[in-house]
């Protein structure tokens, strides 16, 4: 049986033959426990008969969780001329959260205040990525950043390094978990001390969490800029 998410928009393509040609016709697909109860419907979609099979597109938004019969009615000149029930029911699955990365990893240099009693600023490279909940319910999402660096060969993946003087201010930029509502996008972020891998010729960052894994381009930090 076809399975869909609640509220998901789908289009049924129905091959319909109405004879003779030239008639003003309509078709409607609807879901329900019986043919009298329309829980979801495409409404009547107009078309002109050709006397041959034609694919009529019937868009419909899926209802809430449950199993439903599928009905198709065909009208010609306003008269119901065909009424069908699909062999297979449609199953609407329980609503779940579905987290998806909707951007590449972005990187930019940001100056961070050095904490008292020292003053001034230091540089951090901020890495961030957008995650969207494409599911039907809100849930907690996590995305943890790590990085690896290239000196003679690539290191293992390790957590971000912070220096001691602006650590707390840099950590304030960190977003590694968020409660995301359906349709909402949250930016996950962590800052890497720019000089942590001064000896490295290249670094790469990855986020790993409920949206899966995503890797950044291999980058080089030089002359106050992030280079790909």
């Amino acid at each position: 049986m076809p399975e869909f998410a609640p509220g998901e928009s789908k289009t049924a393509i129905a091959p319909i033959i109405v004879k003779p040609s030239g008639l003003s016709c309509e078709a409607e697909i609807f879901l329900g426990p019986d043919e009298l109860t329309k829980v979801a419907t495409s409404g009547r979609i107009p078309f002109s008969s050709t006397g041959a099979s034609q694919n009529v597109r019937l868009p419909i938004a899926m209802p809430s969780e449950g199993t439903y019969h599928v009905y198709i009615d065909v009208y010609a000149g306003g008269i119901l001329i065909a009424a069908y029930r699909a062999i297979e029911d449609v199953v609407i699955l329980p609503a779940v959260a579905n987290f998806v990365y909707v951007s590449a990893i972005r990187a930019y240099i940001q100056r961070v205040e050095i904490e008292p009693p020292w003053g001034g600023t230091t540089e951090y490279v901020v890495f961030e990525v957008d995650v969207k909940n494409q599911g039907g319910i809100a849930a907690l999402c996590s995305a943890i950043a790590s990085c690896r660096y290239l000196i003679d060969e690539w290191s293992d993946w390790e957590p971000f390094r912070y220096e001691q003087y602006a650590r707390n201010n840099a950590l304030a930029l960190k977003v590694d978990s968020a409660y995301i509502n359906p349709g909402e996008t949250v930016t996950f972020r962590e800052a890497l001390w720019r000089f942590a891998y001064e000896a490295a010729s290249r670094i790469q960052v990855g986020f790993l969490g409920d949206a899966g894994e995503i890797l950044s381009d291999i980058i080089r930090i030089y002359m106050d800029q992030v280079w790909v």
């Binding site: 076809p2 869909f4 319909i16 003779p20 008639l23 016709c25 008269i79």
Partner: protein
């Protein structure tokens, strides 16, 4: 639905209250035809029928009896639509007096009995 005279001595066109151009298969409808036969007092009959031509009756009211009055009279002609769909049928109206056909009309538009079928759907 308008009917145009094919044969006989009568109005060139008459309007029959009954038929929609599109009918469901097997549905019953009653046509009410304004028929004038002169002189009065004649034993008359009227018949409404559907077919591909005036010699082939796919559906008919049969001959309905009435007595002429010399003035227009509404004659009721019940017809059950054919069950075979997907076809357009010509509509004919014949009027008889004392067994002789005196008027023949054909509707200016056909009656369509549509048919429909739906194949397996695909979800996109």
């Amino acid at each position: 639905m308008d009917f145009k005279k094919i044969e006989g001595n009568g109005p060139e066109r008459i309007s029959v209250d009954m038929l929609d151009p599109v009918m469901a298969p097997g549905v019953s409808r009653t046509a009410v035809a304004p028929i004038t036969v002169s002189p009065s007092g004649l034993a008359c009959e009227a018949e409404l029928f559907l077919g591909p031509n005036d010699a082939t009756k796919v559906a008919t009211s049969g001959k309905k009896s009435f007595t002429s009055t010399g003035a227009p009279q509404s004659v009721r002609l019940p017809v059950t639509m054919p069950t075979a769909g997907g076809v357009a049928y010509h509509v004919y109206l014949d009027v008889f007096a004392n067994g002789y056909r005196i008027l023949a009309y054909q509707a200016t538009e056909d009656v369509v009995i549509p048919s429909g079928e739906v194949g397996p759907i695909v979800w996109e």
